[in-house]
Symmetry: C2
Subunit: 252 residues, 2 copies
DNA sequence: AATTAAAATTCCGTTTGATGGAATCCTTAA
DNA sequence: TTAAGGATTCCATCAAACGGAATTTTAATT
């Protein structure tokens, strides 16, 4: 087996720094990455020399470095992200729930970006994570947007695994479920992917990007009363492209 | 000296993959990174296991992996980039010259993003690269946007180094030069940073981001006749925020 | 189907870089 | 001044990275 453990540690360190707003001290980094102090220190200095971390002048802390920009240059989804960001922000502001942008990658949902609720109880799916399509609202929204024959082919090739007690396992229910999604114009899922979390999602086919979708992820207890229908409505408006264009805002 | 060489190699590999459109074969990666074949191979597999590179199904090639998104999530400048991108694209289309977005980081210009001309003769500054402020149009545009006392403090602390035969070295000329930039509303520079390259730049203070600037980088021979004034005018319009808003476009 | 050349992958003995506990050195606060 | 809590350096140990060479796989050609 290949090892390259230093590389893995370096990336953990980098991801920790990126996830941390502003900068972190060596002690924090040591604690969060669970690396021994000298190891963390050596790693940070090495990354600094490479330009991937920098040290805000004056402080003795570490933060992400400018060279990370080089890794961002090739982001294939930058366009969609930029496009979706204002709409996601709107949803986020209105409901204060976690908003996810995902795409269909093979038969999996790939999470691209999120805006998290400020509630203490929340779900955080990190960009780069993946989930099966069949137990997520995002996945269902995107698969249902595919041409019927593709959709059917995917269903046939699916062998659902139980993720939570509620995960649907029968192909027949999956098939009818996707039909309903197509008819209703939105997808939903209640605790099938993560216990206690419900999701509502719409794909962005109207924007020209059927393989992308946006979802609201809500702890099931908070999704009661009229809220659900309000969310569905907001998502459908968003997907239709009728949301007020929010290009250049007044900036000063 | 700390070593951590494997980490450096891993990043070279990753940067190569990111810079390459689509995917690359092991042979290409080996050649471009100048690593021995087994080393490159081991590295790619390790990065794959970590999720930073992926292998397009069917092919036997490598490309950037989904986990890179995690490193992009914390991009502090994403907002400005997204904002500037349409304006940059416009400039790029009109003049077919390289357009740069940069920010002031201490006393240096940090390049964030670029759109390259299609001409064979071009200058490419990679995101993450840095240059001193005093010999670049970007730097001069941004420094001149600072409050006068800050500006003067920076000038005093500057000890210009000769980058090309044309680099200005006297503080007095630098001071009057920045004054002119402030008066004219744009900065320029001819072969002082890279021999044979001229730049025109404006800061984005009107957009609410005075520490960011956009420049056109043109091989000096191509900057003749009326072109220069047309470019200056286009940049000033852009900076004023009067450029036609280009928010949500029709997306089919 | 057989042949072969090119490319990818694995092998494995060598060596180097990574490791982390302990000691030392700064900083900051009292 | 002193103390306390980080940050940094040391260094003996050892595992991990190294890369030339051998092997296997793939794809093209006859």
């Amino acid at each position: 087996m290949s090892a390259v453990t230093a590389v893995g540690k370096a990336f953990s360190m980098l991801e920790f720094l990126v996830a941390t707003e502003r900068s972190a001290t060596l002690a924090e980094a040591t604690q969060m990455t669970r690396l021994p102090k000298p190891t963390a220190h050596r790693l940070l200095r090495a990354l600094q020399k490479l330009g991937y971390v920098s040290r805000p002048p004056g402080t003795r802390s570490y933060s992400m470095g400018p060279r990370l920009a080089r890794l961002q240059a090739g982001d294939a989804h930058a366009h969609v992200k930029a496009l979706a960001r204002p709409a996601m922000a709107k949803l986020h502001q209105r409901f204060n729930e976690t908003v996810n942008l995902g795409m269909l990658s093979g038969r999996e949902v790939l999470y691209l970006e999120y805006q998290a609720t400020s509630h203490a109880l929340r779900i955080v799916l990190r960009p780069g994570d993946k989930d099966p399509y069949y137990c997520t609202a995002l996945g269902r929204a995107m698969v249902s947007a595919l041409p019927l024959e593709d959709c059917e082919r995917i269903i046939e090739a699916t062998h659902p695994k139980r993720q939570t007690p509620k995960t649907l396992l029968a192909k027949s229910s999956l098939r009818s479920l996707l039909g309903a999604v197509r008819k209703n114009g939105f997808a939903e899922e209640h605790g099938e992917s993560v216990d206690g979390i419900s999701c509502l999602a719409v794909h962005l086919g109207q924007w020209g990007y059927p393989q992308y979708a946006i979802s609201l992820a809500v702890p099931t207890p908070r999704l009661k009363g009229k809220i659900r229908m309000q969310m569905v409505k907001a998502l459908k408006i968003l997907a239709s492209g009728d949301a007020a264009p929010s290009g250049f805002r007044k900036l000063s």
